[in-house]
């Protein structure tokens, strides 16, 4: 019935929505930043544990749509072990994948995040996918405040 949506709602997204990874409070977090999308009311708190400039652990709490939950869940998995610079690079590639022109897109560079490429066709939903990454960006820049996608 929802054939048209197969690119947007891939099985991996449903899976992460049902069972989000790293969905917990981190008591000893070095960074804690809140992300908020006022348009849809999505809210998340992102926690990072750092060793120098390497992210050693990432977790989150909050509620959002399937796209935003899957996006933050996947993100917390993929950034573990990455340096700040590597994470920022990934953010840039992710951003290009979700908003950029076709020729800029390099699905291989983003690994399993590629399952979120479908949002490009749904402008109203792009922010759902990028909220996690904007929040990470703020956390890495050590902005201990709320960030909003608006």
């Amino acid at each position: 019935m929802f054939d048209d949506l197969r690119d947007l709602y891939q099985e991996v997204i449903f899976d992460h929505n049902r069972n989000p990874r790293n969905f917990r409070v981190m008591d000893n977090a070095d960074r804690k930043v809140e992300g908020f999308n006022p348009l849809c009311g999505d809210r998340l708190t992102l926690y990072l544990k750092m060793d120098g400039n390497t992210i050693t652990d990432a977790s989150f709490q909050g509620s959002g749509c399937a796209i935003s939950t899957a996006s933050v869940s996947l993100m917390t998995e993929i950034v573990k072990g990455k340096t700040e610079q590597e994470a920022e690079d990934l953010f840039k590639k992710f951003h290009e994948m979700t908003t950029g022109k076709d020729e800029q897109i390099n699905l291989e560079a983003v690994g399993k995040l590629a399952v979120l490429a479908g949002v490009r066709e749904y402008p109203a939903r792009v922010k759902c996918a990028t909220l996690a990454w904007h929040t990470l960006d703020a956390a890495l820049k050590n902005e201990q405040k709320s960030i909003s996608t608006e």
Partner: protein, 407 residues
């Protein structure tokens, strides 16, 4: 259903024939904005093709024709809400501008530090923020009457909040987030017993029921044309003449003056005192055409038909496991807001869109209502006179299927 000519009405709305994602459009976002009948579209085309010039300004033929159509629409609005005079009908951009107008003119002139403005917990942001701004400017205090879990105003609490300090009551006639229709006659009687004027936000009520401002005895009534099958960018402030006469003007400029020298300006009479500058001529004419269209059907018939639609939709929705209706007031207009277990409203919105069904997902400009029900957002199907039972079946089938897909 009771022989309401819905198929004939549907044929009058060209957009209803659109295919969305290759499926027939099921338009259930009417509380956000309604679609327009051909008669409204034609009225604008006709004006620009044959009768258009600026209004109130010229002696030439087109200016006279344009003015006649423009002022003719004002009379239609007056009759539609049964105001006592055209002087009480002020054209504005919409409900939002109308409320801001009252806040910045009536409010500034009459509300002082320590005074209170009373609203309810189910207001649209447009009936919250203008009062907060006024409170900031004057030192007045905004009081909020609570609602219960059905989404109804707790009337006793409301009455208790009316005090000697209350200088204005401003409440929504019908809630856009919940569908609740407030007991506005009781509210008005209670406020008037203490000589407090009442503003009704009629943005949602106006397309769904016959509104008689004299019978209601409200002091101000505001609505937007775009929710009444008329163009966007046009709306109405109704105010009782004596109140409007006593109020300072809103904006300064052309049309709102009678005589200007550099020493002083004499303001124009009502309603022009509040209509500075060239008005939205074409959309006023479109609003007049929408009213003609609705009158030909009959607001009471529309209300009865929509009540059947709402009952049908509510009954079907209640059969869906995991669906919770947000807003179950005893007296309710054709709005069905809901949430689904573990499925976010935005996902509902996108999934239904892929089936050609347009609903709204979000906070509906009523964030305090979302907070009260402890949901980040809701999905909302809002019905209009051109919707059918069959469309509701399509909606419910869509909801069932997406629940299955989410698993």
């Amino acid at each position: 259903m009771t022989n309401f000519p819905v198929e004939k009405i549907r044929a009058d709305f060209p957009i209803l024939a659109e295919l969305i994602r290759n499926k027939p459009l099921v338009y259930l976002d009417n509380a956000a904005s309604c679609q327009k009948p051909q008669a409204v579209i034609d009225s604008i085309v006709h004006l620009y093709s044959h009768d258009y010039a600026n209004v109130h300004r010229g002696v030439h033929t087109l200016s006279v024709r344009s003015t006649d159509k423009f002022e003719g629409a004002r009379t239609k609005v007056k009759d539609f809400i049964n105001a006592a005079s055209e002087k009480e009908i002020i054209f504005v951009r919409g409900a939002t501008e109308a409320i801001n107008l009252v806040a910045q003119t009536y409010g500034k002139a009459n509300i002082k530090a320590g005074d209170e403005i009373l609203i309810t917990a189910m207001e649209h942001h447009s009936n919250i923020v203008p009062w907060q701004m006024l409170c900031e400017q004057t030192g007045a205090i905004l009081k909020v009457a609570p609602i219960n879990l059905q989404g109804e105003l707790i009337y006793d609490e409301f009455e208790k909040l009316i005090s000697d300090k209350t200088k204005l009551v401003s409440v929504v006639h019908m809630s856009n987030a919940l569908g609740t229709i407030n007991p506005v006659k009781d509210i008005i009687a209670a406020a008037h017993a203490k000589n407090i004027p009442v503003l009704l936000d009629g943005a949602q009520a106006i397309p769904h029921m016959a509104v008689d401002v004299q019978d209601l005895d409200c002091d101000f009534y505001v609505f937007s044309g775009h929710k009444l099958y008329a163009p966007s960018g046009i709306g109405v402030l109704y105010g009782k003449q004596a109140l409007l006469e006593a109020m300072p003007p809103y904006q300064g400029g052309g049309d709102m003056i009678r005589k200007v020298t550099f020493e002083e300006t004499e303001y124009n009479v009502l309603p022009y005192k509040f209509e500075a500058g060239t008005p939205n001529i074409a959309d006023v004419v479109g609003l007049g055409a929408a009213i003609d269209y609705l009158n030909a059907i009959g607001m009471d018939k529309i209300a009865a038909y929509e009540a059947e639609l709402l009952d049908y939709a509510t009954e079907k929705a209640q059969q869906i496991k995991g669906l919770r209706i947000i807003g179950e007031a005893g007296h309710k207009g054709a709005i069905l807001a809901f949430v689904l277990d573990r499925i976010h409203p935005h996902d509902i919105g996108t999934m239904l869109d892929s089936l050609g069904i347009a609903i709204r997902a979000g906070h509906h400009c009523a964030m305090p209502v979302m907070d009260f029900f402890e949901v980040p957002a809701t999905a909302r199907a809002s019905f209009a006179m051109y919707n059918t039972k069959e469309e509701i079946d399509v909606l419910m089938k869509g909801i069932q299927s997406l629940i299955e897909v989410f698993g």
